[in-house]
Each structure stands twice: as C-alpha cells, then as structure tokens.
Symmetry: C2
Subunit: 291 residues, 2 copies
C-alpha cells in the first residue's frame, strides 16, 4: 500500500512545529496548507513540510489525516466550509485549547469522516512559523478526546504520532472534562499573568524582580485574538476558576491582615504540603531558581 498523506492546515507556531515533528513518521508525506504568501515563503525556507500548498480544499481532498492548526473560530469556519472536501475514511483532528465547542462544530462533517479533538499542551510566548521547532513538544502532555464512535485505528495512529513527535504521554478526557480542567491548569494562569501586569507598580519595579515574577508574567505576552476566543469559548468554567482563586487570595489576605502568625503558618503549611504532594514532573528546565 502507498504512503499516508498528512495535511497540516495552518503553519503557525503549533502547526509548523507539528509539520516539522511529523517528518519521517512511518511512510507519511506532510503537506502544509497556508493562506499567505509570506507564511508560504517562510515555511519553504525553513523546510517545515515535505510539500506546501495554498489550496486547502485540494490538500484535504488528498489527505488521509488532517491536522487543523488554526485559532478556534477559524477551525469552526474551516470545518463548515470544507465539510464536503474531506476524503472519505480520513481522520480529522485539531490542536485547539478548547474542545467542547470544536467537537460540536465537527458534527457538521459527513459520517465518512472521523473527527478526534486533540490538545498538545505546549506553546511559547512567540508565534508564527518563524518560531516553530520540531522539538517543541518534548516532555509535554498530548490530550486526546475520543468518543466511542471513533475508529480505534485512528486513535492508535494519533497516539503513535504523539509519541513520534516527542510528547511525554497521551492523556484521554472527554471534551467537557478537558475544558473544565484546562480552565484551571492553563487559562487562569494566563489571566493571572495579565492581571499581575495591570498593577500600577509594573514599570517601577525593574531591578526588583526575581525568577518567580519572570516565570509568572511570561505568558502575559499572549496572542490577543487567540486567547480572546479561547477564554470566551470556555467562559463558564474559567469564571468559576477565577472566582475560586479570588476567594483563596482573599483568605490569604485576611489571614495576613489579622496578624495571626500561627494561622498564617498553618495556611502556608497546608498549601505547600499540597504542592509537594502534587510534585508535578515536567520537561527538564534549565534553570529552576529565583525567588
């Protein structure tokens, strides 16, 4: 049998990195579909894919696997516009940071097309194909939201691809579970970083920042249109998590204000014990220092 054709639609940071990381996977040919000449030229120069095209309809017609690597609304629009162009029997997936809205949008696809929503838990605070890299996913989680209706061979194929691209593991969840948890582990981290940068002291604190400040505010330099969509499409879960954080911060503030050192020590012991029990293992990071 012939080789498998994989179309990566959208060569931004994530799509570009996926196209790069998939090169050499089994017997597949990676085709990158882009809309702008500028991205086309950059992707060509960086040899991001085996082949490039500006004809997305044709790319999905020929593809056995399609990775939709666009912002959430653009994915929904693409699914609606190209619903009849996907190859019968093909697998379609996406990389979007919210899953319920995308999986619902994919219901417009014909039964002959198998859709499985994914979320590679990786990124950088810079975007675009110029910043794509084949080892972006090393050590990161790959989240998969299959349903009972998906072809098990397609689920297995995505797992092999994730492993090949260097992900640490493959985690399964329903779209709803994914969105509830991601509001906590990712979205509120971005809201918090932004809120910290709204403090009037931001520009007078230069020279006084340590590692924790740099680490926390790093993700505040975010892609505004993308995160506006991600937050909006997950608003109920995200607002619940922000409310909980506000409550937990207020509890700390009140304890500090009260002057009750024993109560403060008890609270800090509780939180720090939880953190140590958690003991997240992550990708190796070069430098873990700095208060």
């Amino acid at each position: 049998m012939g080789g498998m054709t994989v179309a990566v639609v959208g060569l931004g940071l994530i799509g570009g990195s996926i196209a790069m990381a998939l090169q050499g996977f089994e017997d597949c040919t990676v085709v990158g579909a882009v809309r702008s000449q500028r991205t086309y030229d950059l992707a060509l120069e960086r040899q991001v894919a085996d082949r490039l095209t500006m004809d997305a309809a044709q790319a999905v017609r020929e593809a056995d696997v399609v990775w939709l690597c666009l912002p959430p609304q653009a994915i929904l629009d693409f699914l609606a516009a190209h619903r009849d162009h996907f190859k019968p029997g093909s697998l379609v997936t996406d990389v979007c940071g919210v899953k319920t809205a995308i999986v619902e949008g994919a219901r417009c696809l014909p039964d002959t097309v198998d859709f499985i929503g994914c979320h590679p838990m990786a990124g950088k605070e810079v975007s675009g194909v110029a910043n794509a890299e084949s080892d972006l996913f090393r050590g990161a989680h790959f989240i998969l939201t299959p349903s009972g209706k998906n072809d098990p061979a397609h689920v297995a194929l995505l797992e092999r691809m994730a492993q090949y691209m260097g992900f640490r593991d493959v985690v399964r969840a329903t779209p709803e579970e994914h969105d509830a948890i991601i509001a906590y582990t990712s979205q509120v981290m971005h809201v918090m970083a932004a809120a910290v940068c709204d403090d009037p002291d931001l520009f007078s604190c230069k020279g006084f920042e340590g590692g924790s400040f740099r680490d926390c505010t790093r993700v505040a330099a975010l892609d505004v249109p993308l995160w506006t969509e991600l937050f909006s499409l997950n608003a109920p879960a995200l607002t619940r998590v922000i409310q909980t954080l506000e409550d937990n911060l207020r509890a700390y503030r009140e304890t500090i204000q009260s002057g009750d050192r024993a109560a403060l020590a008890e609270k800090l012991r509780h939180s720090s014990d939880r953190k140590r029990r958690m003991n997240f293992e992550g990708p190796p990071r070069g430098d873990q220092r700095g208060n």
Copy 2:
C-alpha cells in the same frame, strides 16, 4: 596590611552560597558560623567556607565584614544578643527579604559598627547548605539599602562583593521602597502560587498541566517558617498588593462573564502590551516554553 575576615553567620541555602561565592574574593578569609553539628559536617564536606566555627560570638569579634544569613526574627535576635561582640569599624549586612524591620532592629548596634541591609534576589525551592551553590546569584539583582550615615567604602565593598559573586547588577533603594516593591515582585507571587494550590482541582489535574502551571506553582513549595515571618513583617504592603490583584482578577472575570468579546480583547491587549513594554531581562533560562 593583612587579609580581611568575612564571617557568614548561618550556612543555609543563601549563606552557604554566599560563603562559596565569596571564596577567592580579594584577600579575604571566609569563616562560616553555624549552630548545628549536622550543618557543620555538611559545610565541611562541601568546603563551603575557608574555616568553620560553632562560636558565633568569636566569629563576629574577628570579622571585618559580617553577613547575617538567618531568617528575619533570628537576625533581630542575633543583633540584640551580639550587639557588643561586633568588631569596631566592621561592616554588618544581612540577606533578609524584608528590610524596614531589619534596619530598625540594627539600630541597637553601637555607632562603631556600620550596618547596611541587603537583599540578594535569588533562591531555590529547596533549602539548606546541601543545596548551596557558588553560582546561585548569576544574573540576579543585588539590592542594597544604604543610608547617608554609612561609610562609602563599605557600600563600595558590598558592590565589589556582589559583582564578584556573579550578580547581574546592584540596585539601591530605601528599606521602605524595597519592602513596598518586593511585596509585588516576590511576596505576592508566593501567595498566588499557594492560593492556586488550594484549588480543589489540584490533584485531579495531573496530565493537563503545561509550563505556565509548573512555573507559577513552583514557589508554592516554600519554607513555611521563613515566609510566615517575611509576610508578617511586611503585612501592610503585601495586603495592598493582594487586594489590587483580587481587583484585577475580578475585572477579568466580569469581562469574561459579560460575553463582550471586544471588551475582553481590549483588556488583553492592554495587559499584554504592558508586559511587552516591560520586557524584563532575566538570567538565561534553559527553556521558556509551555502554555
């Protein structure tokens, strides 16, 4: 003239790293003063100082420069207990993360002793001499809070020491300025990390965390007695900063809840522009990725 004797009182993570980083500085001999046999043995094995002693009174009697590397209350207690043991003409400094309370405590010293409060903006989420390292300070800020009464030669000596130990720069502030800004750049980062770990979802989110979650919660594994003292000694400034953060988070929550995408985009643009304008330069970090 003979060599200079530098006493480092307390060989924990910071004191141990200072003793190691100062070795070979000009013509100085570094004497480490410890209280426990266990720390003595570990410091000896790791060759943390040129000489070790368990007699702190004798160490400060002989020292031209004394670095007090103890928790805040222990520094205040040490100053009171040893006020008459410091060598006339000597420089006494400390490394505590709050400065107003320490500088006030140092008023008990005789006029013949010159006290200058310092704050090396570095640390790790592990403590003790076992984790000390001579290049802990590479790329970090060294904050100095001199007053008009200090000997300029002592200020210059501390600056040379900071440079020798690898600090990126020396920043000057009054103790009050230091405490107000540090509440924002360091203390509230630790409160936030602790508050995030208080969320009931902490233990169910494994597999869904990315770089931002790991980075933010890293400092939640804090030294409880130390941070209880630091927060308590800076309670008014810290509670103000927490309140501002609560307000900024609530503003984000209300905008997300309202469903007004244009308003959310505008808020995110405002915050992310501030972050980009800030553009903190930090120590080189091996890995800057991960949403």
